[in-house]
């Protein structure tokens, strides 16, 4: 499955012709630099998510309630996510045509949407409780959340190989 089968054909060349897309395509180091920032934001994002999800599973930061841990790391997760999108879009624009036939890229976006939706609904509910004990729902939410984001990262890595 790939985006070429879903989106209109003209979309991809249009992306590459945008100012941002063309600048990155023609500059030797832009892509590498943007990708490096993308990776640094990934470290911050994965770290924050891991800490919250580990807490949901009952590990680490146990003296605070799940809600308190989530409240502390939430804003940073969100900022790191914004940086990842802000660096991801320029990278996409610079190689939209190549990515239109990429299976891994399609699945990365699919898991990304799934992860965000899941995060804003079930996960948010699980982190709202001010109890110190993790419940069944909390554990499921944590596992699914971790799986989603790991799938995004794995698919992202696979883009270069497949």
């Amino acid at each position: 499955m790939d985006f070429l089968r879903i989106l209109p054909r003209w979309f991809f060349p249009w992306c590459e012709k945008t100012a941002i897309g063309s600048i990155i395509q023609h500059s030797r180091w832009s892509f590498a630099i943007i990708e490096t920032v993308h990776i640094m934001a990934l470290a911050v994002l994965l770290g924050s998510f891991l800490i919250v999800d580990l807490r949901l599973l009952g590990y680490g930061m146990r003296r605070q309630s799940v809600a308190e841990v989530a409240k502390q790391f939430g804003p940073w997760s969100w900022r790191a996510f914004v940086v990842m999108v802000a660096t991801g879009i320029p990278m996409y624009l610079s190689e939209a045509i190549k990515l239109s036939t990429s299976g891994p890229f399609f699945y990365k976006m699919a898991f990304l949407c799934l992860g965000v939706l899941f995060h804003l609904t079930v996960h948010r509910k699980a982190t709202n409780s001010s109890v110190n004990v993790s419940t069944g729902l909390a554990k499921v939410a944590a596992c699914l959340s971790l799986i989603c984001w790991l799938a995004v990262a794995l698919a992202g890595r696979a883009i270069a190989y497949l």
């Binding site: 640094m40 470290a43 994965l46 891991l50 680490g60 794995l154």
Partner: protein
């Protein structure tokens, strides 16, 4: 024996050749290395930010360190194992890449930073555990750690490009 002679020998061992020339080992190991970033650097930067005094100020330093450091250590074990294997796959390429040499030097410096923190700074944490302003040595360890880890990520990324 010179270091380069050792790396040349390593480069020709059957294990190294196998890692290099088979399709899947390298990408799989590299994926662990990239995902491990979240558990290692992604977690330790929160300890660093606490040492600097920028986050989790309501939490005593000793609590943040004792709760998060074990997880960061597990992450670093993953990074060390996967990183060693990646190095074994192409020792000569790593040896002759400037970016990788920077990375190696910075890794040694982070080890020194960690040693310094636990030997000279953390032992008297009871005196500044809940201080409003962190002692300058603690802040320094935090800043040095963050700068080094982001430098390591950048150098790691550029090892692939140069």
């Amino acid at each position: 024996m010179h270091l380069v002679t050792f790396f040349q020998w390593l480069n020709e061992t059957p294990f190294s050749v196998a890692l290099r020339e088979n399709d899947w080992p390298f990408p799989i190991i590299e994926t662990f290395h990239i995902l491990g970033l979240g558990l290692s650097v992604g977690v330790i930067i929160w300890v660093d930010l606490r040492l600097i005094g920028l986050t989790m100020r309501s939490q005593p330093v000793s609590q943040v360190v004792s709760q998060l450091e074990p997880w960061a250590i597990r992450g670093f074990v993953v990074m060390f194992l996967s990183g060693s294997l990646l190095f074994f796959a192409e020792p000569m390429k790593c040896y002759s890449t400037i970016a990788f040499r920077f990375k190696a030097v910075m890794l040694v410096l982070t080890s020194l930073n960690v040693w310094y923190f636990h030997a000279k700074v953390y032992p008297n944490v009871a005196e500044w555990d809940e201080a409003a302003v962190m002692p300058w040595r603690a802040k320094m360890v935090g800043y040095v750690s963050m700068i080094l880890w982001f430098g390591i990520i950048i150098a790691g990324r550029w090892t692939a490009y140069l």
